[in-house]
């Protein structure tokens, strides 16, 4: 079954309640997201999901030179950053988009849906 990465985007700077207006709103969103994850698991869509620490905690690494170079902060300096993600399996894009809409509602964030490579697309890539 095709796999999709569902990335949640939100403000790079986290406020007191992780970007939520209040503690109650944050807890409600966590509960809704938990219920959504349970649904994913029950219906065989769930591969992996987790939330991320704020983007300021990221370290960017370039290991292509003689010595690896470490830079404090995310690779792209943008106002909006990825805050968490799901890896799901879905029959097709329509199903993935419907799941992303439900996930977006639960976590109160905008979700980007991106397909993973498939065996066939990798083979096509390796063709001369």
């Amino acid at each position: 079954m095709p796999r999709y990465l569902l990335s949640v985007f939100g403000p790079a700077e986290h406020t007191e309640f992780s970007g939520y207006p209040s503690r109650e709103a944050m807890l409600q969103s966590f509960a809704d997201t938990g219920a959504f994850n349970d649904d994913l698991q029950r219906n065989g869509h769930f591969v992996f999901a987790d939330g991320l620490e704020p983007a300021v905690t990221a370290t960017t690494v370039d290991g292509q030179g003689d010595q690896p170079a470490f830079t404090d902060g995310p690779y792209l300096e943008t106002k909006e950053q990825i805050g968490g993600f799901w890896v799901i399996e879905a029959a097709d894009l329509d199903e993935a988009l419907a799941l992303a809409a439900a996930g977006s509602k639960a976590c109160r964030g905008t979700v980007e849906v991106r397909p993973f490579h498939t065996e066939e697309s990798i083979k096509a890539l390796l063709e001369p």
Binding site: D92, L93, P115, E120, S121, K123, E127
Partner: protein, 412 residues
């Protein structure tokens, strides 16, 4: 090689069979690229063989069989597909597709795939014209005034996204079909308007696109005969296109509805459009769903085309239809058109007051300034009218429209 009957038979088969061939191949092989290429190769083979060997008794069947063989040959040559995958794709499969939606026509699946909301609007338009309309990439590029390479890339990227993101090849479920149908209708109407209004460039009318949009509208009507908005869009396009000959003067100037020579209108298209509008009125009167946006626009156009002179136009009916349309779509452009109808009923003063309300929202829209200029002219406020015409001329992209507005301004 130049046997005219064979040439004609190929051209005719191309118009009739292309969409069905691509759609059938896409279902069978699950690959739009392969479907498009195999259908193209089948026609190339026909061009070589029909003049020499004669036109086959069943041209459509011949083309489909040939295209299927071409597709299978290609799959055999492609080593990136596993042997198992190749075998699965080549299995002889003449069975109809498994039922997944309300209607089981391959072309309908193809329409919904090409107009998928996950694709950008430009990509939907290009794919629809290429895969369903059978227009070539250079033709589509010319119609939209972009480089051929740009258009080819747009189509290639869209097909690549359909494949990589697994956009399904099927008719949406009954609960989703209305929403998805809206995007299909929007694509067809955009193609029509691009041909009819030609907002850029020197051709006032780009006939290919209006004809293509009407052809797609007729196809959709055949596939979804009970959808009111499908009938509405087709009627709207027919009633608009019927006035094509009268819409531009011999000197290349736009002719407004009230000044058009109505004997130039295409009576057959009008009759067909009126029949569709009447059918919808009967259905709505019998307790069917209330009319949507395209049905209302078609009805407004039917009132115009029903009048034998501009003076006979039933403006109170047009205003009543705009009142309904404003409820569905309260955008400033719809309300501007309602205000223009109001001016015909209540006189320019009331109309102008209503039009002025959109001064801010529509400041960059030439039709707003043109409507305002006309009302000011009728009220004898010449200098204000002139300034409004100046704004309209500066904003109008279409040369025929500019010529009309310039003449109007200079007559003040």
């Amino acid at each position: 090689m130049t046997d005219p009957s064979a040439q004609e038979a190929i051209a005719c088969a191309y118009r009739q069979e292309w969409a069905q061939m691509v759609a059938g191949l896409a279902r069978r092989f699950g690959d739009l690229d392969l479907a498009e290429d195999a259908a193209g190769e089948a026609f190339a083979t026909a061009v070589q063989r029909w003049p020499r060997e004669g036109i086959p008794p069943n041209p459509g069947g011949w083309l489909t069989t040939t295209a299927t063989r071409k597709a299978i040959d290609r799959i055999r040559r492609e080593s990136q597909r596993s042997a198992k995958h190749q075998a699965a794709m080549m299995l002889y499969d003449d069975a109809p597709a498994e039922p997944t939606g309300p209607v089981e026509d391959d072309r309908l699946r193809l329409i919904f795939t090409c107009c998928h909301p996950a694709l950008a609007m430009q990509a939907r338009v290009a794919l629809t014209l290429r895969l369903l309309g059978g227009l070539t990439v250079p033709q589509i590029a010319r119609a939209f005034l972009v480089q051929e390479t740009t258009m080819a890339q747009r189509i290639t990227r869209a097909k690549a996204k359909i494949k990589a993101a697994h956009i399904p090849y099927r008719v949406p479920s009954a609960e989703d079909i209305r929403k998805r149908l809206d995007t299909v209708l929007a694509v067809i109407y955009l193609v029509f308007n691009e041909g009819y209004l030609a907002s850029e460039g020197e051709d006032m009318l780009r006939v290919d696109l209006t004809e293509e949009a009407i052809r797609l509208g007729r196809l959709l009507r055949t596939l979804l005969p009970s959808e009111g908005e499908v009938a509405g869009l087709l009627a709207l396009m027919l009633l608009t296109d019927a006035r094509r000959q009268a819409r531009v003067s011999s000197s290349g100037e736009l002719v407004t509805l009230d000044e058009q020579d109505r004997s130039l209108w295409d009576r057959d298209l009008i009759a067909e459009g009126h029949a569709l509008v009447r059918e919808r009125l009967r259905t709505v009167a019998a307790g069917g769903e209330p009319p949507g946006r395209y049905q209302l626009l078609a009805a407004i156009n039917a009132v115009h085309t029903y009048a034998s002179t501009g003076g006979d136009t039933d403006w109170s009916q047009i205003l009543a239809l705009y009142d309904q349309l404003v409820l569905l779509d309260p955008s400033p452009i719809v309300r501007l058109n309602r205000a223009i109808a109001l001016a015909e009923l209540d006189g320019p003063e009331g109309g102008l007051a209503e039009v002025e309300r959109f001064a801010q929202a529509l400041d960059g829209y030439h039709a707003f300034h043109a409507a305002r200029a006309d009302l000011l002219r009728r009220l004898g406020r010449s200098s204000e009218s002139q300034a409004a015409y100046d704004r309209a001329i500066a904003l109008a992209g279409n040369p025929a429209e500019r010529a009309y507005l310039t003449r109007r301004r200079d007559q003040l």
